[in-house]
Amino acid sequence: MAEQLHGQPLLRVTGLRKAFGAVQATNNVNIDVRAGEIHALIGPNGAGKSTLISQICGEQMPDSGSIFLDGRDVTSSAAFARARLGLGRSFQITELCADFTALENVVLSVMLRKGRPFGCWGNPRHDEALVAEARTQLAHVGLSSREQVAVADLAHGEKRQLELAVALARRPRLLLLDEPMAGMGAEESASMTRLLRSMKGYYGILLVEHDMDAVFALADRISVLVYGRTIFTGTPDEVRRHPEVRAAYLGEDHALQPALAATTPGEVHAHT
């Protein structure tokens, strides 16, 4: 019994379908994410990755199928309720409170986790415990020196880092990341990769990314989505060798250069 509970995936999606008119954006998708695992989701543009993410986090409702979070059916729960159950995410296009400072953004997240957001009296910005934790979190993503800068004045890459800090400050059990490396230079990508790697084991992560170096370096398992269907799920090596995946997504490059693609985490560090 205990064994079973332990083996239960953090996220389980079964038979999910969603159509926009004639377009089957999600077509009978089954996917699961285990605790502590990084599960990458790849697929051609328009395959339905973002649509899947937004159904999991509750912004869009599926036509049919079920979503289980920690064994709990959340298919019809509101987005905020899922967040309270431990679902965190970062957005493909930055979603932050632009008028707040970096610190305030994280304080907000910590405060909401601690669950007394309806207080009308004390100023959370002056709450030592909240602020201290928020600072730690900012330091974690390397934004210590930018605490007091309003988000609107941050550079693109810094916003991406903050985005992650805000998501992590909520201490989610499951993290959905939609193209976190998009728009990042090689250096930033590498440091983001390092950061995600260091978090491995603490969170379950569903990672959508077109940067194959990062995906192969990080993922424990990879699912390939094409035209709304999961055509394959397996380890990075299996995926790389899979002919259908090569044809639909990777092209020949990655398949022909297994040496480059098979970079181990250590080698990523060596590169930078």
């Binding site: 905020f80 979603e95 932050l96 409170c97 632009a98 008028d99 957001p117 309806f118 009308c120 004390g122």
Partner: protein
């Protein structure tokens, strides 16, 4: 760049200066032999109270209410009606003490709060422009209800011959009434500032800036917005109550869309999202209107372009830029 600290200092300076000005006003009035000055400033203060309340929803919750005058009207009518029954209309439910401020005012505020909750609940299904228009619709409905209250004067409105009774205070005394208004304004503004700086206020503002983000941090939007809306409704209702006592007359156009528009103009003029700015905005707007119309009957020819210039010249109204409003 303005740091939080300099901003804090500016707020303090602005508030202290404004408060000092308000406190000495009756003295100035009697020294200069212009006693009506107190009356004039009482008007600013009452409108300031309504403007602060409106700013709470517009500036911090991004809920642009174009029907807020309904609470102004309701608050005013509630006390005027109760007072009418206590004096000439025959006791209300056999109770003749309904001009007692300590009873009537809280009842009026509760009425405003309830109306705010009902309207807010329905209106918050929409956003943006639709929110503006649905609040306008509810405001107009209240207006038409007031117009059709034939017992209470219908379109002509209802005179409130006797001011509310407050133990230990004679509200008929302009100066006493003035200081009561100032005290309420200061208290209410202080309360609103606490609210916007609290956890609640922080969540409310995060909803304005990025609803998606807030929801994904576990925030259910409606309760926050609705609470802010109700608080704002109560504050605006309080202003209506004071207005009824000040003017001795309530009319349906207290609730008409033009009044809502005027309140909105005051908030924008003073600086959205600064709470203190709109108070000053009330003084400037009403003062300008009076001064110009005393000067020439074609005062709108001046007032209109002035408003345009204010908008074109600065991004945040008259005081918003200085007070660090992040709006515009």
């Amino acid at each position: 760049m303005t740091t939080p600290r300099t901003l804090f200092t500016r707020y303090a300076a602005f508030g202290a200066f404004g408060l000092a000005l308000l406190l000495v006003m009756p003295l100035v009035a009697s020294l200069t032999g212009t006693p009506y000055l107190t009356n004039l400033v009482t008007r600013f203060v009452i409108y300031g109270l309504a403007a602060v309340s409106l700013d709470l929803v517009i500036g911090y919750g991004a809920m642009v209410s174009f029907g807020h005058a309904m609470f102004f009207g309701l608050g005013g009518y509630a006390v005027a009606i109760m007072s009418f029954h206590a004096t000439s209309g025959g006791p209300l439910f056999g109770w003749s003490g309904s001009q007692q401020a300590l009873v009537a005012w809280p009842l009026a505020l509760i009425a405003c709060g309830l109306l705010g909750a009902a309207v807010g609940y329905l209106a918050l299904r929409t956003r943006g422009v639709q929110f503006i228009m649905i609040t306008l619709a509810f405001g107009q409905m209240v207006y038409f209800v007031l117009v059709s209250l034939q017992v209470y004067g219908g379109d002509d409105g209802l005179m409130m011959g006797k001011k509310s009774l407050l133990p230990g205070m004679n509200l008929a005394q302009p100066v006493v009434f003035y200081y009561l208004c100032v005290a309420l304004l200061v208290g209410w503004t202080w309360l609103c500032m606490r609210i916007v700086n609290s956890s609640f206020g922080m969540v409310l503002q995060s909803l304005r800036q990025s609803e998606r983000r807030a929801v994904n941090l576990g925030v259910a939007p409606t309760p926050y917005r609705l609470t802010a809306f109700v608080v704002s409704a109560v504050g605006t209702g309080l202003a209506g109550i004071l207005w009824a006592n000040f003017a001795g007359l309530v009319t349906p156009d207290m609730a008409a869309w033009t009044k809502s528009g005027e309140l909105m103009a005051i908030v924008i003029l003073g600086g959205v999202g600064t709470l203190l700015g709109p108070i000053a905005g009330a003084a400037v707007f009403l003062g300008l209107e009076l001064a110009l119309s005393a000067w020439t009957e074609h005062w709108m020819l001046v007032m209109g372009p002035l408003l345009v210039v204010v908008v074109l010249a600065g991004r945040n109204g008259l005081f918003g830029g200085w007070l660090g409003a992040r709006h515009g």
